[in-house]
């Protein structure tokens, strides 16, 4: 991955910064330039809550190349408290124990390495709450 592409996402990946619409209060993650609900153009920067629940999940057995050493690993659609949804790995547990409705929280973790001398890519993963 090109370093500029990684670098410009850091506010979202490291700090989970989202944009709250000043007009209707809808929170967009990642931040957008126009509110998908009311088409407003002004936003307030907010940090997403770190607690949420699993809406659905899978266990990946055949991965894309960057994740080939991690299989099997669990990945889920998680609804954070307040309603924003993310796709995130669920780690530090046996994938077979994950259930829909389970409470999880986000943590700061390494996600990928790019090449032999490339950047280490950090971001959020979920763990059982």
């Amino acid at each position: 991955m090109f370093s500029s592409r990684y670098w410009r996402e850091i506010p979202q990946r490291y700090r989970m910064e989202a944009a709250k619409c000043s007009g209707c209060g809808t929170v967009s993650f990642p931040p957008r330039l126009i509110c998908p609900k009311c088409k407003g153009r002004t936003f307030e920067k907010v940090r997403l809550p770190d607690q949420g629940k699993v809406l659905t999940y899978t266990v990946i057995h055949v991965p894309a190349t960057p994740f080939k050493d991690e299989v099997p690993f669990a990945i889920a659609v998680v609804e954070l408290d307040g309603g924003v949804r993310i796709t995130s790995q669920v780690v530090d547990c046996d994938p077979a124990t994950i259930r829909i409705g389970q409470r999880v929280r986000t943590e700061f973790r390494k996600l990928q390495e790019v090449g032999d001398a490339g950047v280490l890519c950090y971001g959020y993963k979920c763990v059982p709450a």
């Binding site: 996402e9 990642p30 809406l55 659905t56 999940y57 899978t58 266990v59 990946i60 057995h61 055949v62 991965p63 894309a64 190349t65 960057p66 994740f67 080939k68 991690e70 099997p72 690993f73 990945i75 889920a76 659609v77 998680v78 949804r85 993310i86 796709t87 995130s88 790995q89 994938p95 829909i100 996600l111 990928q112 890519c121 971001g123 993963k125």
Partner: protein
């Protein structure tokens, strides 16, 4: 708007075509379509292709393919909507003929997927999802549909056997299609016992990696008899819609809203509803996708799609035959070509040319093509001319 007819179709057997290039498979099928229609010239061409850049390192397909078909300097347009690129090519050609801009338009879909290895193919297909907020975290396409299957199982009680029945039916149909990549029949036990890809989806729930192309000839209905000896098949409805690129942003994780919206638009244009459809080709990139698609198309009620295959409802002799061609599952899924091949199957069904897999007395048919995890969808409704 002028009425538009399909007067020629061309397709070769799909598979791992290592000895052929993208331009070879394109030209073969384009020539077949022109021969079938009985035309030796075209006014314009449209090609649907998802990712020739990532799969074979070639962009600017309009020029490449017009050149190798010997048709330069005709205008040639490449369109892309991920796995719905073929459906979008048909819609683009339809608009061109309907508007009066062109009379004879060659519409094709093409994808050459086996020039890269499995990891690179998985990466290329992943570009149809949200690269930054889905794939970046390790999700794959089977993984996205596996999450749909898990959510649907939770909500509606779908069983592993009911899911497998979709694959069994489509391989049964594909075994009667000489152009199918995987024409073997499979059993429920084989599907459930096959290797896990993304739990609960197994390899026999997934459509394959395929090289292939498909082509059709469009013209104005009122000139069809003059242009071609073939019985024309009319395009009476065309609908196209989009949804959020990220699966996690969908309000209902068990519903394909782009499909529902595209279908609503196509039904409205055609002036018919789901009850008037005799044969259907849907985008069964994974077994769960067929279940969600027939619900979104209004062919069955929400939550009832789970038993459609196991009960025989969607078999060739059933009330609503779905994927008589074998679908993406058995026929193969060269992503950009799929939407065109779906329409070819339905044209052949409406002409009564399908032999063992013929749906009896088919007069009206529907094709549903989908991009990504449902970020886009295109629906066409056809009728015997």
């Amino acid at each position: 708007m002028r009425e538009v007819a399909i007067v020629g179709v061309g397709m070769t057997r799909w598979g791992e075509l290592w000895e052929k290039s993208l331009r070879d498979i394109y030209v073969e099928t384009a020539l077949l379509a022109m021969e079938d229609a009985g035309v030796d010239r075209i006014d314009s061409m449209v090609v649907g292709c998802m990712s020739s850049g990532l799969f074979v390192g070639q962009e600017h397909l309009g020029s490449v393919l017009a050149d190798y078909l010997g048709q330069a300097p005709v205008p040639a347009t490449r369109v892309e909507s991920a796995c719905a690129s073929g459906g979008l090519a048909i819609r683009t050609g339809f608009m061109e003929v309907a508007s009066g801009m062109s009379d004879i338009v060659l519409v094709s879909g093409v994808e050459k997927m086996t020039d890269v290895d499995g990891g690179d193919a998985t990466y290329a297909l992943g570009t149809a999802a949200d690269q930054e907020y889905e794939c970046y975290h390790g999700i794959t396409f089977p993984g996205l549909y596996a999450m749909m299957a898990r959510a649907y199982m939770h909500q509606y009680g779908l069983t592993r056997e009911e899911l497998a029945a979709v694959a069994v039916k489509n391989h049964e149909n594909g075994s009667k299609n000489p152009l199918a990549q995987f024409p073997m029949q499979v059993t429920i036990e084989q599907v459930i016992g096959s290797v896990l890809v993304a739990d609960p989806l197994r390899i026999l729930d997934c459509s394959p990696i395929t090289d292939g192309a498909a082509a059709i000839i469009l013209c104005p209905l009122d000139q069809a008899k003059k242009i071609s000896k073939n019985r024309p098949v009319k395009i009476i409805g065309s609908g196209h819609a989009t949804d959020s690129i990220a699966y996690h942003s969908r309000e209902d994780l068990t519903s394909l809203e782009a499909v529902a919206k595209a279908a609503e638009r196509a039904y409205k244009m055609a002036g018919v509803g789901p009850d008037a459809i005799d044969a259907v080709e849907v985008h069964d990139c994974f077994t769960i996708a067929e279940i969600l698609a027939i619900e979104a198309l209004g062919l069955v009620e929400r939550g009832k799609g789970r038993t459609a295959a196991s009960s025989g409802l969607t078999a060739i002799g059933g009330k609503i035959p779905v994927n008589p061609s074998g679908g993406l599952k058995s026929k193969g899924h060269p992503v950009g070509a799929t939407g065109v091949a779906q329409v070819i199957e339905l044209v052949k069904q409406l002409r009564g040319e399908c032999g063992e897999r013929q749906v009896k007395n088919a007069r009206r048919a529907l094709a549903q093509n989908m991009g990504g995890s449902g970020g886009s969808s295109i629906v066409h409704i056809l009728e015997v001319g």
